[in-house]
């Protein structure tokens, strides 16, 4: 069972960055008749931010990181570790974390690495960064998490284009000796569902060919090529409503966490219909479950920190918060984490 505990690490601050360009789902010509309204009601996504062709996930994360470092007053030379979680890297190689180390002007004495996970990526990123920090060898670390999912969505696919949004986030972690602070994890994987969310070609299993670019009509309103993201909505849905609640139940039982004492349950923002099923299954009151779906859509790996910083900045900046976060999706990969925050820095949302 993948349960584990990390001590002596705390979160110091969170920031987020989104592209300035906004698209309203009600204006999309993809939808016919009352489809747009029905889509917005069921998914909860009314508008999203779209990165232009010159903007990558690392650009968004770079600006989020610069803002956060400034707001924290951190000295860059003291940052020992940078982990970048994305599935939309700058290049196939090199690792984007190396590019970010240089661009952020961090010390060369910096442990930098990429993690390739999506919807569950923030949870896994937190597990990696906190594990590095817990021995005290590293003192400060940055977890940069973001995706430009729309770059790989077909504009003529109503099952993906109106759902996803682009965003980058930064979270600052610090080693804190003999503190009460701890991170409690449960993580899981089911690779039998690897094709539930997939870009079929362009990797090394099925390399890019000229045919990869051929548009194919799957059904009315769904047209895409083999480099576009395919989302099997029914498979992802049945996976999510079963495994997200299960992971939180396991986490809370294993570590004897009373759900009543948790202030916030922050879920990966898949879509409102799925997320509400999950919330109701766990019998969590609606006021403990923030959403950023309406204005930002499903921002892949960025959903959890983006939701924290856009919806709960006031609470996070003032006092103690006991938080359970849960990410689930592409992989299939999922996991939950329990942690506490106290008076953390929440930067104003950066727009570029």
């Amino acid at each position: 069972m993948a349960f584990f505990e990390v001590k002596n690490v705390k979160i110091s601050g969170i920031s987020g960055c989104v592209p300035r360009t906004l698209e309203e789902n009600k204006d999309l010509s993809l939808f016919q008749n009352d489809e747009a309204e029905k889509f917005m009601t069921s998914t909860g996504v009314r508008r999203r931010r779209i990165a232009d062709e010159n903007t990558t996930a690392s650009d968004l994360c770079y600006h989020a990181a610069e803002q956060l470092i400034a707001d924290l007053g951190w000295v860059k030379d003291e940052i020992d570790c940078l982990v970048f979680v994305t599935q939309t890297p700058d290049y196939i190689l090199p690792a984007t974390s190396c590019i970010l180390q240089h661009r952020l002007a961090l010390s060369q004495e910096c442990h930098a690495m990429d993690v390739s996970l999506g919807c569950s990526g923030w949870i896994y990123g937190v597990s990696v960064v906190t594990s590095f920090l817990q021995s005290g060898s590293f003192r400060k670390a940055l977890l940069l998490v973001g995706d430009t999912s729309l770059r790989s969505c077909s504009t003529t696919d109503k099952s993906t284009w109106p759902l996803f949004g682009d965003a980058g986030t930064a979270v600052a972690f610090e080693y804190t000796e003999n503190s009460e602070s701890r991170f409690l994890f449960h993580t899981s994987t089911d690779g039998s569902g690897y094709d539930a969310i997939i870009i079929p070609e362009g990797g090394y299993r099925a390399p890019f060919t000229a045919n990869s670019l051929e548009l194919e009509k799957i059904e009315e309103g769904i047209e895409r090529n083999k480099l576009h993201t395919v989302l099997n909505g029914m498979d992802v849905f049945s996976f999510g409503i079963a495994n997200a609640p299960d992971s939180i139940e396991k986490l809370t039982q294993h570590f004897q966490i009373d759900k009543e004492n948790v202030d916030l349950f922050v879920f990966h923002q898949a879509n409102l219909f799925m997320n509400e099923k999950i919330r109701k299954k766990l019998k969590i009151p609606v006021e403990k479950v923030p959403y950023s779906l309406e204005n930002f859509g499903n921002t892949s790996s960025a959903t959890i920190p983006l939701t924290l910083v856009t919806e709960k900045a006031t609470e996070l900046s003032n006092g103690i918060n006991r938080i359970v976060a849960c990410g689930f999706g592409v992989g299939l990969s999922w996991g939950s984490v329990y942690f506490e925050t106290e008076n953390i820095v929440c930067s104003n949302l950066v727009e570029i």
Partner: protein, 77 residues
């Protein structure tokens, strides 16, 4: 589990279609109201009521309500 209950629960996933329309032989995907959202509601209903995880392929390969019922029954504990 009984087919009568299953038919009734299937009918509940449709807001506008008259419940009297539904029988074990109903080809549910041919109903006007069928949509991707109703499909998700059916998956959620099966998860809640029978603790069974339906996949997209199960819905795609079922024609009648009875077809779907048989899949759920085979997997239910």
């Amino acid at each position: 589990m009984e087919i009568v209950d299953f038919v009734e629960k299937m009918a509940e996933q449709f807001d506008e279609t008259d419940a009297a329309v539904f029988t074990p032989q109903t080809k549910f995907k041919e109903l006007d109201e069928w949509s991707s959202l109703v499909a998700l509601s059916v998956i959620a209903m099966v998860d809640e009521s029978y603790k069974v995880r339906l996949k997209g392929v199960d819905v795609r390969e079922s024609s009648t309500i009875n077809d779907l019922f048989n899949i759920v029954k085979a997997r239910a504990q």
